[in-house]
Amino acid sequence: MKEQLDYVAGGGLLDRRLFLQRSLVFSVATVLAPEVLAAERDDIQQWQLKPGDPLSNYGKPSPFEQKTIRWTMGNAMAPGNGVSWTPLHDLEGIITPSGLHFERHHNGVPQIDPDKYQLLIHGLVGKPLLFEMADLLRYPMQSIICFVECGGNSNAGWHSQPIQTQVGYFHGMASCSEWTGVPLRLLLNEAKLKGRAKWLIAEGADASAMNISIPIEKALDDCVLVLYQNGERIRPENGYPLRLLVPGWEGVVNVKWLRRLHVSNRPGMTRNETAKYTELMPSGKARQFTFIMDAKSIITQPTFGHKLAKPGLYQITGLAWSGRGKITKVDVSADGGKSWAEAELQQPVLSKCFTRFRIPWHWQGDNIVLKSRATDETGYIQPERAVLVSERGEHGYFHYNAIVSWAVSSEGRISHVYA
Protein backbone atom coordinates (compact mmCIF):
# COMPACT_ATOMS: atom_id res chain seq x y z
CA MET A 1 0.00 0.00 0.00
CA LYS A 2 2.82 2.36 0.87
CA GLU A 3 4.11 2.60 -2.69
CA GLN A 4 0.71 3.49 -4.18
CA LEU A 5 0.05 6.49 -1.95
CA ASP A 6 1.14 10.08 -2.52
CA TYR A 7 2.59 11.41 0.70
CA VAL A 8 2.38 15.16 1.18
CA ALA A 9 4.30 15.43 4.46
CA GLY A 10 6.24 13.32 6.92
CA GLY A 11 4.73 10.65 9.16
CA GLY A 12 2.35 9.36 6.47
CA LEU A 13 0.13 12.39 5.82
CA LEU A 14 -1.73 12.10 2.54
CA ASP A 15 -3.27 14.61 0.18
CA ARG A 16 -6.41 16.05 1.77
CA ARG A 17 -8.44 15.40 -1.37
CA LEU A 18 -7.71 11.66 -1.29
CA PHE A 19 -10.92 10.62 0.49
CA LEU A 20 -12.92 12.80 -1.87
CA GLN A 21 -11.51 10.89 -4.84
CA ARG A 22 -13.37 7.85 -3.51
CA SER A 23 -11.36 5.17 -5.31
CA LEU A 24 -9.24 4.28 -2.31
CA VAL A 25 -12.11 4.06 0.15
CA PHE A 26 -14.26 2.17 -2.28
CA SER A 27 -11.59 -0.38 -3.05
CA VAL A 28 -11.37 -1.20 0.63
CA ALA A 29 -15.15 -1.35 0.90
CA THR A 30 -15.59 -3.77 -2.02
CA VAL A 31 -13.26 -6.23 -0.36
CA LEU A 32 -15.25 -6.20 2.87
CA ALA A 33 -18.78 -5.75 1.64
CA PRO A 34 -19.83 -9.19 0.29
CA GLU A 35 -19.11 -11.11 3.51
CA VAL A 36 -20.78 -8.53 5.78
CA LEU A 37 -23.84 -8.15 3.61
CA ALA A 38 -24.25 -11.89 3.13
CA ALA A 39 -24.33 -12.46 6.89
CA GLU A 40 -26.95 -9.76 7.39
CA ARG A 41 -29.14 -10.75 4.48
CA ASP A 42 -29.57 -14.32 5.74
CA ASP A 43 -30.47 -13.35 9.24
CA ILE A 44 -33.59 -11.36 10.11
CA GLN A 45 -32.57 -9.39 13.16
CA GLN A 46 -34.45 -9.35 16.44
CA TRP A 47 -35.66 -5.77 16.09
CA GLN A 48 -37.41 -6.74 12.89
CA LEU A 49 -39.61 -9.33 14.57
CA LYS A 50 -41.80 -6.99 16.65
CA PRO A 51 -43.08 -3.43 16.33
CA GLY A 52 -40.64 -0.76 17.36
CA ASP A 53 -41.17 1.97 19.94
CA PRO A 54 -44.11 4.36 19.52
CA LEU A 55 -43.87 7.96 18.45
CA SER A 56 -42.41 10.37 20.96
CA ASN A 57 -42.91 14.03 21.76
CA TYR A 58 -39.26 14.74 22.14
CA GLY A 59 -36.56 12.45 20.78
CA LYS A 60 -33.56 11.21 22.71
CA PRO A 61 -30.21 9.75 21.63
CA SER A 62 -29.99 5.99 21.13
CA PRO A 63 -29.62 4.02 24.36
CA PHE A 64 -26.42 2.71 22.79
CA GLU A 65 -24.95 6.20 22.88
CA GLN A 66 -25.20 6.78 26.60
CA LYS A 67 -21.49 7.33 26.91
CA THR A 68 -21.76 10.55 24.90
CA ILE A 69 -22.39 12.89 27.81
CA ARG A 70 -21.10 16.06 29.40
CA TRP A 71 -18.56 15.42 32.11
CA THR A 72 -19.64 17.54 35.07
CA MET A 73 -17.36 19.08 37.66
CA GLY A 74 -19.40 20.81 40.37
CA ASN A 75 -18.36 22.24 43.69
CA ALA A 76 -19.23 19.69 46.41
CA MET A 77 -20.45 22.50 48.68
CA ALA A 78 -22.51 24.07 45.88
CA PRO A 79 -23.39 21.67 43.04
CA GLY A 80 -24.57 24.51 40.79
CA ASN A 81 -21.18 26.16 40.87
CA GLY A 82 -18.87 24.53 38.35
CA VAL A 83 -18.48 23.41 34.76
CA SER A 84 -19.49 20.63 32.42
CA TRP A 85 -17.58 19.77 29.28
CA THR A 86 -18.70 19.06 25.72
CA PRO A 87 -17.44 15.57 24.72
CA LEU A 88 -15.74 16.83 21.56
CA HIS A 89 -13.97 13.46 21.13
CA ASP A 90 -17.36 11.75 20.55
CA LEU A 91 -18.84 14.33 18.17
CA GLU A 92 -18.56 15.05 14.44
CA GLY A 93 -19.57 18.00 12.29
CA ILE A 94 -19.62 21.51 13.74
CA ILE A 95 -22.94 21.82 15.61
CA THR A 96 -22.95 20.87 19.28
CA PRO A 97 -26.22 19.19 20.30
CA SER A 98 -27.96 21.59 22.70
CA GLY A 99 -27.94 19.07 25.54
CA LEU A 100 -24.17 18.69 25.19
CA HIS A 101 -23.29 22.40 25.11
CA PHE A 102 -20.70 23.10 27.81
CA GLU A 103 -21.82 24.77 31.03
CA ARG A 104 -20.23 27.24 33.38
CA HIS A 105 -22.58 28.38 36.11
CA HIS A 106 -21.66 30.50 39.11
CA ASN A 107 -24.63 29.43 41.22
CA GLY A 108 -26.87 26.99 39.39
CA VAL A 109 -29.43 27.07 36.59
CA PRO A 110 -32.50 29.20 37.33
CA GLN A 111 -35.84 27.99 35.95
CA ILE A 112 -37.30 31.28 34.73
CA ASP A 113 -40.98 31.67 33.86
CA PRO A 114 -40.99 33.57 30.54
CA ASP A 115 -44.28 35.22 31.47
CA LYS A 116 -42.51 36.83 34.42
CA TYR A 117 -39.43 37.73 32.42
CA GLN A 118 -38.49 41.38 31.81
CA LEU A 119 -35.39 42.97 30.30
CA LEU A 120 -34.38 46.46 31.42
CA ILE A 121 -32.14 48.83 29.43
CA HIS A 122 -31.13 51.93 31.38
CA GLY A 123 -28.28 54.31 32.16
CA LEU A 124 -26.92 56.66 29.51
CA VAL A 125 -29.99 56.40 27.29
CA GLY A 126 -32.66 58.84 26.25
CA LYS A 127 -35.42 56.39 27.16
CA PRO A 128 -34.93 53.63 29.75
CA LEU A 129 -36.93 50.70 28.38
CA LEU A 130 -38.54 47.59 29.83
CA PHE A 131 -39.33 44.67 27.54
CA GLU A 132 -41.60 41.68 28.13
CA MET A 133 -40.87 38.32 26.47
CA ALA A 134 -43.93 38.68 24.23
CA ASP A 135 -42.50 42.01 23.01
CA LEU A 136 -39.11 40.55 22.22
CA LEU A 137 -40.58 37.66 20.23
CA ARG A 138 -42.11 40.22 17.83
CA TYR A 139 -38.78 41.83 16.93
CA PRO A 140 -36.96 41.11 13.68
CA MET A 141 -34.52 38.27 14.33
CA GLN A 142 -31.31 37.01 12.83
CA SER A 143 -29.36 33.77 13.14
CA ILE A 144 -25.67 33.27 13.59
CA ILE A 145 -23.85 29.96 13.75
CA CYS A 146 -20.95 30.56 16.10
CA PHE A 147 -18.94 29.07 18.90
CA VAL A 148 -19.04 30.03 22.54
CA GLU A 149 -15.82 29.29 24.41
CA CYS A 150 -15.07 29.83 28.08
CA GLY A 151 -12.05 32.06 28.63
CA GLY A 152 -10.72 29.30 30.87
CA ASN A 153 -11.03 26.57 28.23
CA SER A 154 -7.92 24.39 27.69
CA ASN A 155 -6.35 25.86 30.84
CA ALA A 156 -4.76 22.49 31.71
CA GLY A 157 -2.34 23.42 28.93
CA TRP A 158 -0.62 25.77 31.38
CA HIS A 159 0.22 22.84 33.68
CA SER A 160 3.88 21.86 33.77
CA GLN A 161 2.97 18.27 32.84
CA PRO A 162 0.64 17.42 29.93
CA ILE A 163 -2.79 16.35 31.17
CA GLN A 164 -3.89 12.87 30.10
CA THR A 165 -7.59 13.05 29.44
CA GLN A 166 -10.00 12.85 26.51
CA VAL A 167 -9.93 15.91 24.33
CA GLY A 168 -13.42 17.09 25.36
CA TYR A 169 -12.41 17.17 29.01
CA PHE A 170 -9.42 19.32 28.13
CA HIS A 171 -10.83 21.58 25.38
CA GLY A 172 -14.59 21.02 25.69
CA MET A 173 -15.51 24.31 27.32
CA ALA A 174 -16.21 25.30 23.75
CA SER A 175 -19.36 24.49 21.82
CA CYS A 176 -21.03 25.69 18.62
CA SER A 177 -24.70 26.34 17.93
CA GLU A 178 -27.05 28.18 15.68
CA TRP A 179 -28.24 31.11 17.80
CA THR A 180 -31.31 33.12 16.80
CA GLY A 181 -32.60 36.29 18.32
CA VAL A 182 -32.87 40.05 18.22
CA PRO A 183 -29.83 42.13 17.25
CA LEU A 184 -28.87 44.03 20.39
CA ARG A 185 -28.32 47.29 18.50
CA LEU A 186 -32.04 47.39 17.58
CA LEU A 187 -32.99 47.76 21.24
CA LEU A 188 -30.07 50.04 22.06
CA ASN A 189 -31.08 52.30 19.18
CA GLU A 190 -34.67 52.39 20.44
CA ALA A 191 -33.39 53.38 23.89
CA LYS A 192 -31.32 56.14 22.21
CA LEU A 193 -27.76 55.93 23.47
CA LYS A 194 -26.24 59.14 24.73
CA GLY A 195 -22.93 60.37 23.37
CA ARG A 196 -21.02 59.45 26.52
CA ALA A 197 -22.09 55.79 26.29
CA LYS A 198 -18.92 53.67 26.21
CA TRP A 199 -19.71 50.48 28.12
CA LEU A 200 -22.61 48.15 28.67
CA ILE A 201 -22.86 46.33 31.99
CA ALA A 202 -24.86 43.14 31.53
CA GLU A 203 -26.48 41.33 34.46
CA GLY A 204 -28.02 37.87 34.63
CA ALA A 205 -31.06 36.78 36.62
CA ASP A 206 -29.32 33.79 38.20
CA ALA A 207 -28.50 33.33 41.88
CA SER A 208 -25.14 35.03 41.37
CA ALA A 209 -26.65 37.96 39.45
CA MET A 210 -23.58 37.60 37.22
CA ASN A 211 -22.48 41.01 35.94
CA ILE A 212 -19.81 42.05 33.47
CA SER A 213 -18.87 45.07 31.33
CA ILE A 214 -18.73 45.06 27.52
CA PRO A 215 -17.49 47.89 25.25
CA ILE A 216 -20.42 49.60 23.51
CA GLU A 217 -18.79 49.23 20.04
CA LYS A 218 -19.12 45.46 20.31
CA ALA A 219 -22.67 45.73 21.60
CA LEU A 220 -23.60 47.78 18.52
CA ASP A 221 -21.69 45.49 16.17
CA ASP A 222 -22.80 41.86 16.19
CA CYS A 223 -24.25 41.02 19.61
CA VAL A 224 -27.56 39.17 19.69
CA LEU A 225 -30.24 38.75 22.36
CA VAL A 226 -30.66 35.01 21.85
CA LEU A 227 -34.06 33.36 22.15
CA TYR A 228 -33.45 30.18 20.13
CA GLN A 229 -30.59 27.67 20.12
CA ASN A 230 -30.39 25.15 17.28
CA GLY A 231 -33.94 25.96 16.27
CA GLU A 232 -35.67 25.52 19.63
CA ARG A 233 -36.03 27.93 22.51
CA ILE A 234 -32.71 28.20 24.26
CA ARG A 235 -32.05 25.59 26.97
CA PRO A 236 -32.20 26.64 30.65
CA GLU A 237 -28.52 25.87 31.12
CA ASN A 238 -27.73 28.18 28.22
CA GLY A 239 -29.75 31.09 29.54
CA TYR A 240 -33.48 30.51 28.98
CA PRO A 241 -35.41 32.56 28.23
CA LEU A 242 -32.73 34.94 26.88
CA ARG A 243 -28.95 35.12 26.78
CA LEU A 244 -26.58 37.68 25.38
CA LEU A 245 -24.41 36.38 22.55
CA VAL A 246 -21.14 38.23 22.01
CA PRO A 247 -19.67 36.44 18.97
CA GLY A 248 -16.03 35.43 19.25
CA TRP A 249 -15.56 36.81 22.76
CA GLU A 250 -14.88 34.81 25.92
CA GLY A 251 -17.88 32.95 27.27
CA VAL A 252 -18.28 34.96 30.47
CA VAL A 253 -19.45 38.08 28.60
CA ASN A 254 -22.19 36.03 26.89
CA VAL A 255 -24.40 36.62 29.92
CA LYS A 256 -27.11 34.00 30.41
CA TRP A 257 -30.59 34.72 31.83
CA LEU A 258 -29.99 38.33 30.84
CA ARG A 259 -32.11 40.70 32.90
CA ARG A 260 -30.52 44.13 32.79
CA LEU A 261 -28.29 46.19 30.50
CA HIS A 262 -26.77 49.28 32.11
CA VAL A 263 -25.30 51.75 29.62
CA SER A 264 -22.36 53.53 31.23
CA ASN A 265 -19.34 55.69 30.46
CA ARG A 266 -16.99 53.26 32.26
CA PRO A 267 -16.75 49.59 33.22
CA GLY A 268 -18.12 48.42 36.56
CA MET A 269 -14.87 46.67 37.48
CA THR A 270 -16.92 43.67 38.54
CA ARG A 271 -15.41 40.57 40.07
CA ASN A 272 -15.41 38.73 36.72
CA GLU A 273 -13.35 41.42 34.99
CA THR A 274 -10.87 42.00 37.81
CA ALA A 275 -10.37 39.08 40.22
CA LYS A 276 -11.28 36.56 37.49
CA TYR A 277 -10.86 36.43 33.70
CA THR A 278 -7.71 38.52 33.93
CA GLU A 279 -4.36 36.94 33.12
CA LEU A 280 -1.44 37.25 35.47
CA MET A 281 1.82 37.67 33.56
CA PRO A 282 5.36 36.83 34.72
CA SER A 283 5.91 40.54 35.47
CA GLY A 284 3.20 40.42 38.15
CA LYS A 285 0.91 42.61 36.04
CA ALA A 286 -2.31 41.12 34.70
CA ARG A 287 -3.89 41.51 31.28
CA GLN A 288 -7.43 42.84 31.58
CA PHE A 289 -10.32 42.93 29.08
CA THR A 290 -8.79 40.21 26.90
CA PHE A 291 -12.16 39.52 25.36
CA ILE A 292 -11.33 37.93 22.00
CA MET A 293 -10.75 34.19 21.77
CA ASP A 294 -7.74 33.75 19.49
CA ALA A 295 -7.48 31.01 16.87
CA LYS A 296 -7.28 27.45 18.14
CA SER A 297 -7.38 24.01 16.61
CA ILE A 298 -7.54 20.56 18.14
CA ILE A 299 -7.46 17.11 16.64
CA THR A 300 -10.55 15.28 17.94
CA GLN A 301 -9.74 11.90 16.33
CA PRO A 302 -7.47 10.13 16.86
CA THR A 303 -6.54 11.48 20.30
CA PHE A 304 -6.14 10.32 23.90
CA GLY A 305 -8.47 7.42 24.65
CA HIS A 306 -8.45 6.11 21.08
CA LYS A 307 -6.24 3.18 20.12
CA LEU A 308 -5.08 2.51 16.61
CA ALA A 309 -5.66 -1.24 16.03
CA LYS A 310 -2.95 -1.66 13.40
CA PRO A 311 -1.01 0.28 10.80
CA GLY A 312 -3.09 1.46 7.87
CA LEU A 313 -5.24 4.23 6.56
CA TYR A 314 -6.88 6.59 9.07
CA GLN A 315 -8.61 9.94 8.91
CA ILE A 316 -7.36 12.69 11.17
CA THR A 317 -10.18 15.08 12.00
CA GLY A 318 -10.64 18.00 14.32
CA LEU A 319 -12.02 21.46 14.94
CA ALA A 320 -10.62 24.93 14.47
CA TRP A 321 -12.11 28.31 15.33
CA SER A 322 -11.17 31.95 15.80
CA GLY A 323 -12.88 34.80 17.59
CA ARG A 324 -11.46 37.17 14.98
CA GLY A 325 -13.24 35.71 11.94
CA LYS A 326 -12.97 32.81 9.54
CA ILE A 327 -10.45 30.00 9.68
CA THR A 328 -8.50 30.11 6.44
CA LYS A 329 -6.19 27.13 6.91
CA VAL A 330 -5.46 24.22 9.20
CA ASP A 331 -2.11 22.50 8.83
CA VAL A 332 -1.49 19.05 10.27
CA SER A 333 1.84 17.48 11.11
CA ALA A 334 2.52 13.78 11.71
CA ASP A 335 6.21 14.21 12.47
CA GLY A 336 6.12 16.53 15.47
CA GLY A 337 6.09 19.74 13.44
CA LYS A 338 9.00 19.06 11.09
CA SER A 339 6.68 19.03 8.08
CA TRP A 340 3.06 20.13 7.64
CA ALA A 341 0.25 19.39 5.20
CA GLU A 342 -2.91 21.37 4.66
CA ALA A 343 -6.11 19.71 5.82
CA GLU A 344 -9.42 19.84 3.96
CA LEU A 345 -11.86 22.33 5.52
CA GLN A 346 -15.48 21.19 5.60
CA GLN A 347 -17.70 23.77 3.90
CA PRO A 348 -19.26 26.09 4.77
CA VAL A 349 -16.49 27.87 6.68
CA LEU A 350 -18.17 30.56 8.79
CA SER A 351 -16.84 33.48 10.78
CA LYS A 352 -16.34 32.86 14.54
CA CYS A 353 -17.61 29.34 14.04
CA PHE A 354 -16.33 25.81 14.53
CA THR A 355 -14.63 24.66 11.32
CA ARG A 356 -14.19 20.93 10.79
CA PHE A 357 -10.91 19.81 9.21
CA ARG A 358 -9.94 16.41 7.90
CA ILE A 359 -6.88 14.82 6.36
CA PRO A 360 -6.11 11.22 5.41
CA TRP A 361 -3.16 9.58 7.09
CA HIS A 362 -1.29 6.35 6.54
CA TRP A 363 0.07 5.26 9.89
CA GLN A 364 2.99 2.95 9.32
CA GLY A 365 3.28 1.72 12.90
CA ASP A 366 5.96 4.18 14.02
CA ASN A 367 6.20 6.37 17.10
CA ILE A 368 5.06 9.75 15.81
CA VAL A 369 3.62 13.05 17.07
CA LEU A 370 0.46 14.60 15.62
CA LYS A 371 -0.20 18.34 15.70
CA SER A 372 -2.68 20.76 14.18
CA ARG A 373 -2.21 24.48 13.59
CA ALA A 374 -4.93 26.98 12.69
CA THR A 375 -4.61 30.22 10.72
CA ASP A 376 -7.43 32.76 10.63
CA GLU A 377 -8.41 35.43 8.12
CA THR A 378 -6.47 38.11 9.99
CA GLY A 379 -3.30 36.10 9.35
CA TYR A 380 -3.01 35.08 13.01
CA ILE A 381 -1.33 31.67 13.36
CA GLN A 382 -1.94 29.44 16.38
CA PRO A 383 1.31 29.47 18.40
CA GLU A 384 3.43 26.56 19.59
CA ARG A 385 3.15 25.99 23.34
CA ALA A 386 6.72 27.09 24.02
CA VAL A 387 6.04 30.42 22.31
CA LEU A 388 2.81 31.05 24.21
CA VAL A 389 4.42 30.17 27.55
CA SER A 390 7.44 32.35 26.83
CA GLU A 391 5.11 35.31 26.16
CA ARG A 392 2.61 34.78 28.96
CA GLY A 393 4.28 32.62 31.59
CA GLU A 394 2.40 29.72 33.18
CA HIS A 395 -0.02 31.50 35.50
CA GLY A 396 -2.34 33.35 33.13
CA TYR A 397 -4.94 30.58 33.51
CA PHE A 398 -7.19 32.03 30.80
CA HIS A 399 -6.87 32.19 26.99
CA TYR A 400 -4.69 29.13 26.38
CA ASN A 401 -4.68 28.45 22.64
CA ALA A 402 -1.37 26.73 21.87
CA ILE A 403 -0.86 23.94 19.37
CA VAL A 404 -1.73 20.57 20.94
CA SER A 405 0.56 17.57 20.39
CA TRP A 406 -0.48 13.91 20.53
CA ALA A 407 2.14 11.13 20.61
CA VAL A 408 1.18 7.89 18.89
CA SER A 409 3.19 4.91 20.16
CA SER A 410 4.16 1.95 17.99
CA GLU A 411 1.39 0.03 19.82
CA GLY A 412 -1.13 2.62 18.61
CA ARG A 413 -1.69 4.23 22.01
CA ILE A 414 -2.14 7.99 22.08
CA SER A 415 -1.00 10.38 24.77
CA HIS A 416 -0.88 14.13 25.18
CA VAL A 417 2.68 15.49 25.05
CA TYR A 418 4.44 18.83 25.04
CA ALA A 419 6.55 18.60 21.91
Binding site: N107, K127, P128, F131, A207, N211, G268, A286, I292
Partner: protein
Amino acid sequence: MFTLKLFLIIWVSFAIAADAEQPGPNLGKLASDDLVKRWNRDIFPDGEGLPEGYGNAMQGKSVYVQYCQSCHGQEGSGGSADELAGARHGLTDNPPDKTIGTYWPYATTVFDFTRRAMPLNAPGSLSDSQVYAVTAYLLYLNGIIKEKEEMNAKTLPLVNMPNRQGFTREKM
Protein backbone atom coordinates in the same frame (compact mmCIF):
# COMPACT_ATOMS: atom_id res chain seq x y z
CA MET B 1 -31.66 77.73 0.12
CA PHE B 2 -28.53 75.93 -0.98
CA THR B 3 -27.75 75.18 2.66
CA LEU B 4 -31.22 73.83 3.20
CA LYS B 5 -30.91 71.54 0.14
CA LEU B 6 -27.58 70.26 1.35
CA PHE B 7 -29.05 69.69 4.78
CA LEU B 8 -31.92 67.73 3.25
CA ILE B 9 -29.58 65.57 1.20
CA ILE B 10 -27.50 64.77 4.25
CA TRP B 11 -30.60 64.12 6.31
CA VAL B 12 -32.03 61.78 3.66
CA SER B 13 -28.80 59.82 3.36
CA PHE B 14 -28.66 59.39 7.15
CA ALA B 15 -32.22 58.16 7.10
CA ILE B 16 -31.36 55.62 4.40
CA ALA B 17 -28.34 54.36 6.33
CA ALA B 18 -30.45 53.93 9.45
CA ASP B 19 -33.12 52.11 7.46
CA ALA B 20 -30.70 49.59 5.97
CA GLU B 21 -31.70 47.27 8.80
CA GLN B 22 -35.31 46.50 9.53
CA PRO B 23 -36.35 48.87 12.31
CA GLY B 24 -37.63 47.51 15.58
CA PRO B 25 -41.30 47.82 16.43
CA ASN B 26 -40.63 50.01 19.48
CA LEU B 27 -42.38 47.75 21.95
CA GLY B 28 -40.35 48.67 25.02
CA LYS B 29 -42.25 50.44 27.76
CA LEU B 30 -40.73 53.47 29.38
CA ALA B 31 -39.17 52.27 32.64
CA SER B 32 -39.95 54.50 35.62
CA ASP B 33 -37.15 56.11 37.60
CA ASP B 34 -38.34 54.17 40.62
CA LEU B 35 -38.08 50.81 38.82
CA VAL B 36 -34.62 51.64 37.47
CA LYS B 37 -33.50 52.65 40.95
CA ARG B 38 -34.77 49.42 42.48
CA TRP B 39 -33.28 47.15 39.80
CA ASN B 40 -29.95 48.90 39.41
CA ARG B 41 -27.54 47.31 41.88
CA ASP B 42 -24.33 48.18 40.03
CA ILE B 43 -21.54 49.69 42.05
CA PHE B 44 -18.66 51.54 40.47
CA PRO B 45 -15.10 52.04 41.79
CA ASP B 46 -15.84 55.72 42.48
CA GLY B 47 -18.65 54.67 44.82
CA GLU B 48 -21.60 55.32 42.50
CA GLY B 49 -24.35 52.94 43.50
CA LEU B 50 -23.16 52.27 47.04
CA PRO B 51 -26.12 52.13 49.43
CA GLU B 52 -26.55 53.55 52.91
CA GLY B 53 -25.29 51.49 55.83
CA TYR B 54 -21.94 50.94 57.51
CA GLY B 55 -19.82 48.42 59.34
CA ASN B 56 -16.31 47.70 60.60
CA ALA B 57 -14.11 44.61 60.77
CA MET B 58 -15.06 43.79 64.36
CA GLN B 59 -18.72 43.58 63.34
CA GLY B 60 -17.76 41.87 60.09
CA LYS B 61 -15.97 39.03 61.81
CA SER B 62 -19.22 37.65 63.23
CA VAL B 63 -20.89 37.92 59.79
CA TYR B 64 -17.92 36.10 58.26
CA VAL B 65 -17.87 33.32 60.83
CA GLN B 66 -21.61 32.75 60.45
CA TYR B 67 -21.99 32.95 56.65
CA CYS B 68 -18.61 32.67 54.94
CA GLN B 69 -16.15 30.64 56.98
CA SER B 70 -17.58 27.18 56.15
CA CYS B 71 -16.42 27.60 52.51
CA HIS B 72 -13.69 30.25 52.68
CA GLY B 73 -11.93 28.99 55.82
CA GLN B 74 -10.83 30.67 59.00
CA GLU B 75 -9.62 34.22 58.41
CA GLY B 76 -10.13 33.90 54.67
CA SER B 77 -7.94 30.97 53.76
CA GLY B 78 -7.77 27.19 53.87
CA GLY B 79 -11.37 26.60 52.77
CA SER B 80 -12.86 24.86 49.73
CA ALA B 81 -13.69 28.19 48.07
CA ASP B 82 -11.43 31.00 46.85
CA GLU B 83 -8.68 32.21 49.17
CA LEU B 84 -9.63 35.73 50.25
CA ALA B 85 -6.79 36.67 52.59
CA GLY B 86 -3.62 35.35 54.14
CA ALA B 87 -1.40 35.30 51.05
CA ARG B 88 1.96 33.79 51.93
CA HIS B 89 3.71 34.99 48.80
CA GLY B 90 3.27 37.43 45.93
CA LEU B 91 2.13 37.58 42.33
CA THR B 92 5.51 36.87 40.78
CA ASP B 93 6.16 33.76 42.87
CA ASN B 94 5.55 30.23 41.66
CA PRO B 95 2.70 29.61 42.20
CA PRO B 96 1.40 33.16 42.65
CA ASP B 97 -0.89 33.84 45.60
CA LYS B 98 -4.00 35.73 44.47
CA THR B 99 -6.15 37.12 47.28
CA ILE B 100 -8.19 40.29 47.77
CA GLY B 101 -5.07 41.82 49.27
CA THR B 102 -2.63 40.80 46.57
CA TYR B 103 -4.84 40.92 43.47
CA TRP B 104 -8.23 42.70 43.65
CA PRO B 105 -7.82 46.28 42.34
CA TYR B 106 -10.98 47.85 43.84
CA ALA B 107 -12.57 47.54 47.28
CA THR B 108 -15.98 48.35 45.78
CA THR B 109 -15.83 45.06 43.85
CA VAL B 110 -15.73 43.11 47.12
CA PHE B 111 -18.91 44.85 48.25
CA ASP B 112 -20.66 44.44 44.89
CA PHE B 113 -19.86 40.76 44.50
CA THR B 114 -20.66 39.88 48.11
CA ARG B 115 -23.97 41.71 48.03
CA ARG B 116 -25.16 40.16 44.76
CA ALA B 117 -23.80 36.63 44.98
CA MET B 118 -22.94 35.63 48.54
CA PRO B 119 -23.44 33.48 50.50
CA LEU B 120 -24.01 30.88 47.79
CA ASN B 121 -26.83 29.16 49.67
CA ALA B 122 -28.73 32.42 50.28
CA PRO B 123 -27.51 35.17 47.93
CA GLY B 124 -28.89 38.62 48.64
CA SER B 125 -29.78 37.72 52.23
CA LEU B 126 -27.24 39.95 53.99
CA SER B 127 -28.22 43.51 54.89
CA ASP B 128 -26.20 46.33 53.35
CA SER B 129 -24.59 47.02 56.73
CA GLN B 130 -23.64 43.34 57.06
CA VAL B 131 -22.03 43.54 53.62
CA TYR B 132 -20.11 46.70 54.61
CA ALA B 133 -19.00 44.97 57.79
CA VAL B 134 -17.82 41.74 56.14
CA THR B 135 -16.10 43.77 53.41
CA ALA B 136 -14.32 45.69 56.17
CA TYR B 137 -13.31 42.40 57.83
CA LEU B 138 -11.84 41.06 54.57
CA LEU B 139 -9.93 44.30 54.00
CA TYR B 140 -8.71 44.16 57.60
CA LEU B 141 -7.58 40.51 57.25
CA ASN B 142 -5.53 41.63 54.25
CA GLY B 143 -3.88 44.38 56.26
CA ILE B 144 -5.47 47.14 54.15
CA ILE B 145 -7.60 48.92 56.79
CA LYS B 146 -7.70 49.04 60.59
CA GLU B 147 -9.98 46.90 62.70
CA LYS B 148 -12.23 49.75 63.82
CA GLU B 149 -12.25 51.66 60.52
CA GLU B 150 -15.83 52.11 59.36
CA MET B 151 -16.72 51.22 55.80
CA ASN B 152 -19.61 53.13 54.24
CA ALA B 153 -20.52 54.74 50.91
CA LYS B 154 -17.94 57.49 51.49
CA THR B 155 -15.01 55.54 52.92
CA LEU B 156 -15.08 52.34 50.83
CA PRO B 157 -14.17 53.96 47.46
CA LEU B 158 -11.21 55.69 49.16
CA VAL B 159 -9.60 52.42 50.28
CA ASN B 160 -6.17 52.12 48.69
CA MET B 161 -5.93 48.60 47.26
CA PRO B 162 -2.33 47.29 47.00
CA ASN B 163 -2.77 45.95 43.44
CA ARG B 164 -4.69 48.95 42.10
CA GLN B 165 -2.05 49.52 39.38
CA GLY B 166 -1.62 45.80 38.61
CA PHE B 167 -3.62 45.62 35.39
CA THR B 168 -2.87 46.39 31.77
CA ARG B 169 -5.63 46.85 29.25
CA GLU B 170 -5.55 44.98 26.00
CA LYS B 171 -5.81 46.87 22.76
CA MET B 172 -8.87 45.64 20.91
